[in-house]
Symmetry: C2
């Protein structure tokens, strides 16, 4: 477990959001995905901070886009997964699947 390679729960969700957005990922869109599809409504800053951390960890890369031309159309920073990011996502997924698998009859549920 090398330092700085762990995926927090929000980091994972953000990575997932970037993934499904393809090359169209940016702060705003990621936040939208989170609140619309992941039951996680966080502030804008939370998203950015997480995105930066993900980039530092090597799970995402980013580049600067073009100004949009509209009023207040500052150039957005775009994000995409790195191969390492994809791997990390697949690893945690495999772990969870393993942990869920096998009977499951124990659940205390109505």
């Amino acid at each position: 477990m090398p330092k700085g390679s762990h995926l927090g729960d929000l980091e994972e969700l953000v990575l997932l959001a970037v993934r499904r957005l393809g090359e169209e990922a940016d702060g705003g869109r990621v936040r939208e995905q989170l609140s619309e599809h992941a039951e996680r409504s966080v502030s804008v800053s939370t998203v950015y901070v997480t995105l930066m951390r993900l980039e530092e960890k090597g799970y995402a890369r980013s580049w600067k886009g073009e100004p949009s031309g509209t009023r207040g159309g500052k150039a957005k920073r775009h994000y995409a997964l790195t191969p390492e990011g994809v791997d990390a996502l697949e690893r945690v997924r495999a772990v969870r699947e393993r942990m869920w698998d096998r009977d499951g009859a124990h659940a205390t549920h109505g």
Copy 2:
């Protein structure tokens, strides 16, 4: 998102471990599950602290067992999921499934 209801990534794994252990969950077994099936080797104390936090959050309940009779066989504290814990687990699972679903063709992968 009510306060103190979030599931951290380790908390989720611990909950999953308790779940698959049924009524036989205790600190040592949970730790074992984590390292054997979840690629997460943490210290004993980490497991206990997490278990306590989970109980405070209402996702797990615990009771004291009997001494084991063997050398050093102090009575263990046993854990099991509460219905809330099961729900929490199912909710995060559903979210992740939704986030993975649909095409997935964007992955930058070799």
